[in-house]
Symmetry: C2
Subunit: 484 residues, 2 copies
């Protein structure tokens, strides 16, 4: 290449880098996360192109994630786990070098062994829903498919063979099935051509500039959109309460109770069964997810304690959900829950959960009306992914009457050992009982699925609720064991 | 067991749990992290005891971490990696069920294969330093060694054999070498008997109460100490500057420069070598850690860009170090860096690093005098751990003169593409040039070690500094390749 052309290239690249840095900082202020995907056949120049893009971006706000042959701990988690965990925060760009598409194809054709997914088309659906969730929540998603002329590709590979340092990499290419990858990717692109950008790799100079220009162009457009949005009137955010809802809770308000001695006997028996079930889950490599929701002072914590009392502590985890940290708040609300998804054979228990999105966030207006309305589907998708992976998901809503809550609040206030449990916030929430009631009933109505059903439990008697919860867990597990 | 005794046990346990919860909340306010270790032979009741302790604690502030057979990604990281990452924040308790001791023994006797560490005594030193670092930084460390009578142990194991659900676990015991573990642990305890608490497991009731009582007792004492400390006068925190320091920087202030054409030629050649070196690192499974420190506007970012320009982006990561997040600030200052330690064969580059502790934190008084004085040793220990693992650690300080900095600041301010790079803070830092100079020289003096030497680079010419850095990296790697 002529010295002149090279100079021109460097100048052009510098100009685009500067612009890119500027756009990245503006989008950061607008809190727009950016995902850039690089797919493409072997030796197509993906590494060079993505590296030049990476260097052009501001390293403070840029992550690079390469899809690798899955580790043992990745294979023990749902398909999307490694990707959701690595989605960018609202101030960042993440480049995915090979992505969920590569992994999907490797699992489909068995290059990556995973009995749960091999040959299973369900993953393509998960991918679609995952990308939709990201985009709906504000992510700018840019997907590159890098193509290359056959002869040029062969030349690239031969060059790697010639260098003793890179020979191993070229040999790896031989082992992979590039033809199959290409065939699958072509099908994927055909299905949804417009969501992809094809780049034909010609040479480092031309192609680097092309990729940079495309990204700059996409980000320019996005900045314009954000500006317009910022100038427009803010949409209503009233939590769309109207008092009309299916009153599901009402069915669980009777006077159910249990005798003290009977309670003790059954508890001991059930706890022993729970321990055996834990070992069976381990043996059968089934993950179990227990979600506990309920009114303040409904007795969630005490209920959970009874469930885990006889368990092996190396196989379960209790996740309590408080206000998000400053890192969590900058991610999709499901991000922190993806981070704690149990591995195969393990149990994760959530004391409050992702359902905060459609309860407290709706009532307090932390999420917009649109966010909340979309969240029901997003949550169902999330739980579907867990079920696709073979997880058992059981969700409890512990229901107590407003009177019972008052009694418990007052009892806490009078007990010096328990007074710390009751805060101003509990009283404030109590005042919003009716709004919560509507939010809870909507939630139960919209997110009880076959994969992940809700069980409302009458919690006016703590003993009754504990026995009921444990029986439900055991029953569900026994049924699942029959199938698996 | 009599019904009466059992009732007494339940009552006693409730009382201790309530107290424990109280103490935990007080220590949380004092920002005291708590680590509780359970070691002990097979079937000694560690699971039961640690689970009862776990349940007695507040799940919002308690984590449980079980040492397992190391995963592939753990084996590709330094020994302490999984443990340091899981140390508690200043508001939390972490229970380690089997700990660094179990892993050390398994690596020593080869049950866990890791060529880097098998038979290597260096790990015991790392453990001692790690615990010291935790304690020095305010952690309450409680270590239990659970013992059990031989006959009772046999009974426990037989009971597991009898249950088809737990048989596999008992079979696992057979494969491990419990006798060897016991012998090693006895040696460890003998060395440092007073840092351990021996508990002889007799039965669930007596032993659970014993463990809870010991923890309550320890935490009571700690709360008293913290109260006393809070009432005492605050120690001086002036950053102990006196203008007396070895002026190491002075040697790197000449007029070194490099001709533009020569720079271009050498850069291209060195970048090509860098790419080959990256493949060799990968092949030899050697991790490389590059630390960049330097004055504001010294050219760290541009220098790093040149190093990575021709690299494979799937094998390196640039970590820029900004003010800590709210989660990071609650951990030991090295915590976030442990989280980004590269795996074998990979490169991690730090644009600013853990040295912030002895520069900005010292100058601004974010860390106390004692914290900073201790930090030199802690940092040397950290880098020693990296070296023990076989990592190459190279540290650059890019030095520019005060005049050069002013010129660059002014140039940035006049360039609309670069004006974002210059902030009020940069000007404030500049005013503290002399304090920084002392802090930097002390740092260079105290933390340049054989394992992890400092290279001061004259950065008044950016081109010179880039070539110099790359040559240093290449030289160091070539030397290391000869040995490995």
């Amino acid at each position: 290449m002529e010295e002149n052309l090279k100079k021109k290239y460097e100048k052009e690249k510098d100009k685009l880098s500067t612009r890119l840095g500027y756009l990245q900082r503006v989008l950061k202020d607008y809190k727009v996360p950016v995902i850039i995907v690089f797919e493409g056949v072997h030796a197509a120049g993906k590494g060079r192109l993505s590296n030049e893009l990476l260097i052009a971006l501001d390293p403070r706000y840029t992550k690079f994630y390469a899809t690798h042959s899955p580790t043992e701990s990745e294979l023990r988690r749902p398909f999307l786990w490694q990707y959701f965990k690595n989605t960018p925060s609202s101030t960042a760009v993440t480049i995915f070098y090979r992505s969920w598409y590569s992994l999907y194809i490797a699992m489909k054709n068995g290059t990556v062994k995973n009995e749960r997914y091999n040959g299973n088309k369900v993953l393509l659906e998960e991918i679609t829903r995952f990308e939709k969730t990201m985009v709906d929540n504000g992510t700018e998603l840019i997907k590159f498919y890098i193509e290359i002329d056959k002869d040029l590709q062969k030349e690239h590979i031969m060059r790697m063979y010639d260098n003793p340092r890179t020979m191993w990499k070229a040999q790896e290419y031989d082992r992979d099935n590039d033809e199959e990858y290409k065939k699958e990717m072509e099908e994927i692109l055909e299905e949804d051509e417009k969501s992809w950008i094809r780049v034909e790799y010609e040479n480092r100079y031309k192609s680097v500039i092309e990729v940079l220009e495309i990204v700059v162009d996409k980000l320019e457009k996005r900045v314009k959109e954000e500006k317009k949005k910022a100038e427009a009137d803010k949409p209503d955010n009233d939590g769309f309460f109207n008092g009309k809802f299916p009153n599901i809770l009402k069915k669980y308000e009777g006077k159910e109770d249990i005798d003290k001695e009977e309670y003790k006997d059954r508890l001991i028996r059930l706890q022993k069964e729970m321990r055996d079930v834990q070992y069976t889950l381990y043996e059968k490599k089934i993950p179990l997810i227990l979600v506990y929701e309920g009114w303040d002072a409904a007795g969630k914590g005490g209920n959970i304690k009874r469930v885990v009392q006889q368990l092996d502590p190396t196989g379960y985890e209790i996740n309590t959900t408080a206000a998000p940290s400053d890192v969590e708040i900058k991610h999709h609300y499901l991000w922190r829950f993806w981070n704690t998804v149990p591995k195969t054979g393990h149990i994760s228990i959530y004391d409050r959960s992702w359902y905060g999105r459609v309860m407290v966030e709706r009532v307090e207006g932390f999420a917009s009306n649109e966010d909340v309305k979309r969240a029901y589907d997003e949550i169902n998708d999330f739980e579907k992914s867990l079920a696709n992976f073979g997880a058992i998901v059981i969700k409890f809503f512990i229901h107590i009457s407003k009177e019972e809550q008052l009694e418990r609040f007052e009892a806490r206030q009078e007990d010096e050992d328990k007074v710390w449990k009751i805060t101003e916030e509990d009283w404030r929430n109590r005042e919003k009982w009716d709004l919560y009631q509507e939010a809870i009933n909507d939630m139960l109505d919209k997110t009880s699925t076959e994969n992940a059903p809700w069980y409302v439990i009458n919690g006016n008697s703590k003993k009754f609720a504990r026995i009921k919860a444990m029986e439900t867990i055991l029953d569900t597990c026994y049924k699942a064991f029959l199938d698996k």
